[in-house]
Amino acid sequence: MSDDDIKIEVNGVPMSARKGQMIIQVTDPAGVYIPRFCYHDKLSIAANCRMCLVEVEKAPKPLPACATPVTDGMKVFTKSAAAIAAQKATMEFLLINHPLDCPICDQGGECELQDLAMGFGRDVSRYNERKRVVADKDIGPLVSTDMTRCIHCTRCVRFTEEIAGLQELGTLGRGENMEIGTYIERSVDHELSGNVIDLCPVGALNSRPFRFRARSWEMMQQATVSPHDSVGSNLFAHTMHGKLLRVVPRPNEALNETWIADRDRFSYAGIYTDDRLETPVFRVDGEFRPTDWATALQRVATRLGETAKEGSLGVLAAPGATLEEHYLLQKLARDLGSNNIDHRLHAMDLGDDDNDPPFPWLGAAVAELESADAVLVVGSHIRHEVPVLAHRLRKAGLAGSQINFLNPAGFEYLFPVHEYAETPLSQLQPQLVALLGAVEAVTGRRSELAVDRGAISDAHRRIADSLMSGDKSHVVLGHLATRHPGYSKLRAIATEIARLVGATMGYIPESCNAAGAYMAGVVPHRAPGGKPVAEPGRNARQMLAEACDAYVLLGFEPQHDTAEGQAAIETLRGASFVVMLASWLDPTAIEYADVILPIGTFAETAGTYVNMQGDQQSFSGVAEPVGDARPGWKVLRVLGNQLELDGYEYNNAAEVLAAANADIGVMRPDNTIARSPAINGAQYSEAEMPRPSRIYGIDPLVRRARPLQRTRDAKRTADR
C-alpha cells in the first residue's frame, strides 16, 4: 500500500481511495449514487450546479462531492438528512427558472433533471414569480436549442473547449442574465459537436434531426457499430416500429470512449431517402423498371453463369461492406472462376501488393496512441478521415506526446502539434526520403533503401529526434498516402523509418471494414486468410481501366467511391452486363447497370466489421429493411444457390461468419515488409494527387444524410 492510498468511509462503508481523488470519483465506481448535473468524468470539474452536495463529518456545511478531495479517515454521508436537505434545496433553485414543458420536450423520459426532480423535487412549487425566458440560438443543422431549459451546468461549454479543442460555446452575461451561446449567431461546427446533445442533462441541447420524432420510452435500444470509419465506434441504435430514428454512443473505452463523430450520429438520416431502392430493378430502353426478386436473381444468375463459362468477370466491393458480404462475394467470384476481385477502390498504386500486410491495421491499439511518446502521421487529414482517432491524438498531444505530421498545408489541428512538415502531396515521396535520411543521421543506422536522401531540413531533424525521444512511437499512414500514386514506395520508406526508430508501423484502413476485406480475401492476389492464390486476378484499377465482360458491384457508387470517378463509369459502360448490389438508386447507374438488387444498409443487416486494431465487431440488424431490400449476405447466398454452387446453405449471418472465420483461420497483424521495392525518383504532378476525403462524402449513406450535408464542413469540402 503506497502513501497515496487512503481509507474513507461512505455511509458507514469503508472504501479505499487515492489521494487527490474527489469524493464522487470514489463513490461512482463503488456504486454509491450521488446526484449531479455538471460533473462528467471526461470533463474538467466546474462544481457549479451544486446538486452533488453531501455531508462530510466535521465540515460545517454540505460540500460538493465533485470538487471535494478525499482525505484519510473522511466520513461522507450521501443520504443523511443534511445531505438530502441540501440536495432538495439545490433542486428547488434549479427548477425556479426551468419550464414545465416536459410533455413537449424531447429529453422527457431520459432527462437527468426530470429524474432527479422525481427524487429530490417538491411536488408543488413555492415560486410564484415570473420565470425567465431565454431566446433560442441557431447553432447549426445538428443541434436544436431550447435555451430556457438550460440550467447552466456548462458541460457543453467545457466540451467545446476541452474535448473538441475549439471553444465555440460560452457563458455570456451574468447572474439572472447569464446565457449559454455563441454571442454572434453562428453554427457550432466541430466534427464531434453532436456529443453536446448527450452531455446536456436537460432538454436545452437536443438532436435537431430527431426533434419531435419519438418519445424515448417508445423506442428500442440495440447495439450496433459505426459503418463509417475504421475505429468501429460502438453505437446504440434507437428504433421504433422497425425504423431507425436515432443513434447515440455506446461507451467503449478501448475505441470511442463515450464520444462518437457527428458522422456516426447523424448518418442514419440517409437510410430513409426518396432515392432508396425498394425493389430490384432492371434496365430496359434506357430506364429502370421494377421487378421481383425471383426474376431479378434468375436474370443475374443466368448472365453470371454465362460469363463464368466464356468471359471475364470483375467483382468490386466497397470497403464498408460487412465481413460476411465480403466473404460470400469473394466465394462467389472464385467459385465462378474469377480472381478479379478487389475492394481498394480509391487506391492508385496497387503494384507491389505481395508486400501488403495480412490486413491493414493501425500498428497499435487505438487507446495506446494516448500514451505514445511520439507519433508521425503521414498524409492524413485525420480529423476528417477518422474524427474519433483524431481525438485520441489530441488527448495524447495535450498530455505531452509529440504529434508530428507530414502533410499538405491547410489542415487545422486543435492541439499542440510538435512539428507540422508541410509538403505538396506530389512531393511526399522525396520528403519522406529526406526524413529517412534525418532518421539515419539521428540513429546512426543505415537503411538499405537505395535512393538519394535529398535535402534534409530542420523539420525532418525535429521529427526524427521526436520519434527517437521515447520508447513508444508510432508511424501512421493516412488515406492521402494509401491513395497516393506512389503508395507502395511511401509504404516502404515509412516502414524503414519505423524500423530504424523502433516505432510501430500502421495504416488508417479505408472505411469501416478494409481490414475485414483483406481477411476475407476481397483482393485479387489472396484468398481468405491471406493465402496466396495461384493466378492473381485483376485489381480494382485494372478492372476500372479496361472493361471486363461482366461486373458485380457491391455497395458503392463509382463516380464518388473510386479513384477513377467518371472514367470508371466509362469503363463500366463497356461491359456487357453489370449487376449492382446497392441500397439507393445511384443516378448515374442508368449509364452502365443492367440490374440493381436492393440491399439493406448497416442498420438493416446483421454483420461484422473489422476495425483498425483488428477487432471483429458483430452486430445484428436493428431496423426493418426498407421495401423489398434484403441483407447483402442473403442476396449473395441466394445467388450462389441459383448458380447451383456448393456451400451456400447459410441460415443466418452468424453461420456465414463462422464459415468465413474457419476459412480465415488465425491472422496475425504484421505491417513489416519482406523485401523493399525499388525506390526511384518518380515524379508526380499535383493534378494526379488524391483529394482529401470529404468528411461527409465518404460513402453513399453519409452523402445522403441531409443534416450532415447542411453543415459548414460539408459545404467547405463540397468542391473535393
Binding site: 473547449e161 475549439l166 471553444q167 465555440e168 460555446l169 457563458t171 454571442y183 486543435l414
Partner: protein
C-alpha cells in the same frame, strides 16, 4: 486556434502596446488573463463601447477563441457591447447609497435628460448605466462615478452643477 476573422488592424498601436504590457505580466500560456485590461483599453479608445470587430481583434491579438473575449465583455458591467453615450454616469444604488437617497438621484438624472437607466441621450453625450454595484464610497453616500471620477454627498442640486460642469 481562434475562429475570428484574423484581423487585428482595428487595434491601435497604443492599444497593442498596452495589451502586450499586460500579457508580459502573466505566464505565456495564460494570455487569457490580459483580456480585461485589453478590453478596457480598446473600449476607452472607441468612445466608451466595444464592437464585435474590436473584440475579435483582441481575441486574435491574444490568440484566444473569440467566445472567451465575448464572455468577459458580457460579464463585467464596466464593458459596453453596444454604442452608448460618451460620458458614463454610474449612480451607486446599493444599500448604503439607497438609504441615503440614491433613487432620488437616479430619478433626477432620468428627468433631466429624458432617458431611462440603460439609455443614452440623443446627442450621444451621456449614458446612464443601468445598474451600478457598490463602489466603496459608502461613507459619503449617495455617490456616483462619471468616467472614473467619484462625486460624493450628492443632492439633485449638486448633480446638476456637476453635469453642467461637464458640458
Amino acid at each position: 486556434m481562434s475562429v475570428s476573422n484574423k484581423d487585428t488592424s482595428q487595434l491601435s498601436e497604443h492599444a497593442r502596446q498596452v495589451i502586450d504590457h499586460w500579457v508580459a505580466k502573466f505566464p505565456p500560456d495564460k494570455k487569457r488573463s490580459a483580456v480585461i485590461e485589453a478590453l478596457r483599453t480598446v473600449q476607452h479608445e472607441n468612445n466608451g463601447y466595444l464592437t464585435a470587430e474590436l473584440m475579435d481583434a483582441v481575441a486574435e491579438h491574444l490568440d484566444l477563441p473569440t467566445i472567451q473575449v465575448y464572455e468577459v465583455a458580457t460579464f463585467y458591467s464596466m464593458f459596453e457591447t453596444r454604442p452608448v453615450g460618451r460620458c458614463h454616469i454610474s449612480v451607486c444604488t446599493n444599500i448604503a447609497c439607497h438609504l441615503r437617497g440614491s433613487a432620488e438621484i437616479v430619478e433626477h438624472i432620468e428627468k433631466r435628460f429624458g432617458i431611462k437607466t440603460g439609455e443614452s441621450t440623443p446627442d450621444g453625450k451621456f449614458y446612464l448605466k443601468r445598474e451600478e454595484e457598490c463602489l466603496a464610497a459608502c461613507v459619503n453616500a449617495p455617490m456616483m462615478m462619471i468616467d472614473h471620477v467619484y462625486y460624493e454627498n450628492l443632492t439633485p442640486e449638486t448633480v446638476d452643477q456637476i453635469l453642467e460642469g461637464l458640458k
